[in-house]
Symmetry: D2
Subunit: 387 residues, 4 copies
């Protein structure tokens, strides 16, 4: 695909030393050479922020102690210097504020998932995005995998027939012990309702699973029945849950999310069954898409620039020939690349390929509605609740 020659400039909020996802965002932004990090407020700890900035090669003048100062400071810089977009990689409760401020200041925004901590915040962000016309990317990064793109293209084109059933599972084991009590930074904020919001595992990974189901099928969940469990003693938020999904097209689904599935790494998988066939994808072996056909044929599609049979959507998100595994960072980078290309197109007043896209504010609002419904259903004895 053709690229322009400009570079897109990025600022970052959060992601200082010790952050898990901050470095992933930076690697993803760098991979394709379209985006340069130009400023950051990497931590509420001034020393950490400064150290991270230095390591990233930023001048001290563009490393800030708070996100408020960064947005204020960068806004004063000339347009050709200040960042095109701000990437927000803070805990859930610190998405809304920076995102809203950045949008209002005229910056595009990339925001880690889930969008925020309430439907109200989400809808306000949506209104802000709509009003400001700024671009907004929510990093539901699993949608960036080529084989997820391929699945979406096939399913929405009707290749497996009318879809009937989706089973999506996201199993992790890292919270099977109360590591939040022994100082695990990732666990501490995720298990704290003040920072994580109304849900735990369901917010952290359930929203990924929910998004993946809606993304691949192109269908919308209308109702759900949920059962959320707090399995490790002393934990306030859910660390495990099962949700029955009812989609608008009549399809049903089951969503499992657990962070107490002891020994599981990051086991996200989805199975979609239609009248004519089934499609299976597993994140831990992401380069294979398994197609099951109603006449029992089994077929494997594989990530690879040269793989015949994969459609245009997958090809646009693939970098190397088949057999050279593409991984998590490459998929994540697809979101950043697409976002950068959209910014370029916008800046240059050009049309852009609509396949070069990314999850946005809409997906963020959906996620928050999903969480609200799941928590409500679980509290009311798993009754069916509409979204």
């Amino acid at each position: 695909m053709r690229r322009g020659t400009m570079k897109v400039r990025m600022g970052m909020i959060g992601g200082g030393e010790g952050s898990l996802i901050g470095p992933v965002h930076r690697m993803a932004a760098r991979l394709d050479g379209l985006t340069d990090l130009v400023c950051g407020a990497f931590s509420s700890d001034r020393d950490i922020s400064r150290a991270t900035g230095a390591r990233e090669g930023l001048p001290a003048s563009r490393v800030y102690p708070t996100w408020q100062e960064m947005i204020a400071g960068e806004s004063k810089l000339p347009p050709e210097v200040r960042p095109h977009f701000i990437s927000i990689v803070t805990p859930n409760n610190l998405h809304y504020g920076p995102a809203k401020a950045a949008l209002e200041a005229g910056f595009h925004v990339v925001c880690d998932k889930p969008l925020c901590i309430s439907v109200e915040e989400a809808e306000d962000l949506q209104e802000t995005v709509d009003r400001t016309g700024r671009l907004f990317c929510l990093t539901h990064n699993y949608t960036g995998y080529p084989m997820v793109k391929q699945a979406r293209e096939m399913v929405t084109a009707g290749e497996i027939g009318t879809i009937r059933k989706v089973v999506v599972q996201y199993l992790q084991g890292w919270l099977s012990a109360p590591v939040e009590k022994t100082g695990n930074r990732q666990a501490v904020w995720r298990s704290d309702p003040a920072r994580a919001g109304i849900a735990g595992a369901m917010a952290d990974i359930g929203t990924h699973a929910f998004n993946l189901a809606e993304y691949i099928t192109g269908e919308v969940v209308t109702e759900l029945s949920a059962r959320l469990n707090s399995i490790v003693p002393g934990r306030i938020l859910d660390d495990d849950g099962t949700v029955s999904l009812q989609f608008g097209n009549g399809m049903t689904g089951t969503l499992l999310a657990s962070q107490v599935a002891t020994g599981e790494e990051n086991n996200l998988s989805i199975r979609i069954y239609g009248e004519k066939g089934g499609i299976i994808w597993n994140q831990m072996e992401p380069n294979t898409l398994t197609l099951l056909w109603s006449d029992s044929r089994v077929q494997l599609m594989r990530t690879g620039t040269s793989f015949p049979g994969t459609g245009k959507l997958a090809s646009l998100h693939t970098r190397i020939p088949a057999g050279h595994p593409e991984g998590f960072i490459e998929a994540f980078a697809n979101l950043y690349r697409n976002f950068a290309m959209n910014i370029m197109a916008l800046e240059e007043g050009k049309a852009h390929d609509t396949m070069i896209n990314y999850p946005g504010i809409h997906e963020g609002v959906r996620g928050m509605k999903f969480l609200r419904a799941a928590v409500a259903s679980s509290r009311q004895g798993s009754v069916m609740v509409s979204l």
Copy 2:
């Protein structure tokens, strides 16, 4: 293990030409050379019954047109000639009658699952078994796999710690088209409430999944919430469903059973997570048990007489060294072998190894209670229902 030198004699009801499961029962009974088929009423079609009997090498005098005649006729033969047990491999609605009659006539019984079509029938059979003292085996054959035995031994010995979560899935695709309308014999009776009972997929395969979850964990489901779907238009009984399980020990579980998962063969899998580790088993690759430990180590246990680390229970149910795959028939044969050895021990008045066992009438009653609860919950908007 030591075996006696007597042969156990078997009669069969059902399983004539065109039967899927009849030949499997016969191969399973033959494999270890402990059991001889001596009589049968293989079909309600007299010609089919006769042809099957001839093919099995039975004298015409011991091939009957009806099960009633067989039980009556064989009862008149001398004890050293008549069968020790009757194997019942008919549709669900034809389990109760023959089983009850056979028990009352003094025969031991092997019966295909599910036990029957109502809790009332099940409890009456249980009373009959208790009163007559006859042995009863319900062919929940998946419990016969060595690695299922190994999983049970490890889980019940506490090797993965307090168990918290079980996820069991049974996915098939063969009913994704309305094949009952195009003459598929297996589909015709399974989709007919008069012959299958109150449930479809949940009875046919859901009871296997339910049994497997209780068998491996050694825990008892006390409550459930179910959502059963009839996805293929025109189908009265469920062909798909999800059940949330609550176990007596506080553990939760999720059970999926679908026969409209297009393209799936016979994909039964179970994952059990405890405080210290997780255990995964898949029926389609049955010789591997995957152990996930809380410290992230991943270990594979493999079926094989020489595999160190597998416990006594698995060893007792394994025939060949590791790397020589044991399959479905071998697992099925483990039930028959164990049943035959129990009959021998009983006949010879000897004690027998309690590890040489098989699912029985109790498991049959559990299955019927599971179905009753699942159907009730689903009809009442997925409310939690106690078993």
Copy 3:
């Protein structure tokens, strides 16, 4: 497929208590209900022979202390009583004598592989088979797997185009320690040139690999270059080796056989590449055949009576629907079933389906020539040697 109603009678030489392969032969013979064991000389140890006979339910009169006595004794019984065939499951050096005697006495013969211990013995047996007109089955049991049949059918029908390359590997680890010195019965005779013959691993498992390559491709090895290694100190015969194969059709191949591949179970795999595609089969997951097409499509074929796309040959050797794993014993049983059906056809003077076949004396001679050439090449610095 139609079967006659007669039962085929089998005698056995070798396979007493402690034998690995004896019980496998008996299970395989029993599985389909076509064959009854009627006599045996199970061990040179009279007590063991007697105990095994008793366990198998044989009358004492038909359990013999030596194979010579068995052949003599059974030959005197009426035709309708004496065995149709003799199964020989002794160490390699004890194949020729019993096989020859059995054939001369008018019995058909099943013989474990390798056929014997020299090309001379092999050719003499071939002459005997030809002269007596008796049926002879050599248990290269891996050819009994449905997916091996399918591979052969596809390859010989040209579906993957002109074949160019075959890679066959047979990796085991059980001889990685000198277990023959610590009493492992299987290892003792296999590492003893007097009983095993001129080769060790190459005879024990290399001949299987060689047979599989010739069987699936339908092509004949004409020349080879070999390098045999005796890796464990003190071992006289090879326990590891690599052979370059040249086939008559111009195709080349590589054969690896090792019994010191520490930790490997019974890892036999074969890959065949043609102009249009490749075919991969692994014995440890025998129910899947992977097809790689030149346009990069990957397709899985699966064992199962109902699997569309598999050809007639595979279907004839499959017992249950897809997803119900068939294993080692089922594949082994396919040889016994086919052999029994050929005996029936011969006895009844009927034509039989030529697809219902089994490896025979020809394959035995090929195996001995392969071993002779491999040993010769290795001794002469891996020079190319013709078969």
Copy 4:
């Protein structure tokens, strides 16, 4: 690990539009944010070179039509502007000249494999590296995978005991048709002796396999016997081959390399067997290392920053927690990162962690000696030839 704050500057020779490996090198160099591309001579086609430079955001003044002009031109720039190193990603015959010139001009060098086209060139380059003291990285990129690092650490530490056997296979199918005749750029030069050198598949992928075997085992091949085949009609160089390896420590090995294994993607695997265990790694599923122990235990090690049990070497080359697949680019990037860190250390006069390393000129010379010996052996009827 700590990083300095300087950026390393890179120039590139080759890798213009249409290049396969050029973009991979650039992504790999970018991923960790340590290296900036500052100049290039991307193609002998002036327009292509210019277009690539523009796309990479380079000023026109630093995009050159020939590598000679680039080296000359950049040498005149001030030290703080000109590149620290030159990356050479041209066909094999265009490695020696640019590499030698760059070294002589004082630049460090990264060079694609194989090093060059003769042992003479290789030894001259080695002399040049030694004399100039410049750093030299040969991109045997598969050594960059964390699980390859882990395998090396375990094997060289003796964890699987004295090593006995290595089996390394590299199977591709993309040359199974004569695509060099239909304009495939990659195939054209690789099948042309003038540009590829004395070997085809063995040079292109066999050297990777050879390097991997020596890298993981830490042992040196002393002799080999090879059989190289030109399977596709009309091809001068080998497109397939098998090599028997003899290592200095007594270990034997088998190396297969084929580019006519129809349907194979990029199937590189290695199996190493020692007295105590075996280690298996497959490039297409690179995040798993399978350990087979002599007592039959099977254990999986997994890439992941948090995976206990993996050693320091793997940890230093891992970016994200287990379950988030790292792929080909990440492994490639490990070479670039290590090279950049070594340059930084050298520039700053600091000691560096010797685990932060990369394949160098020595590996390049080994590869050329391997090719020379393999071609010689094959031409002389597979005789054993010493390296």
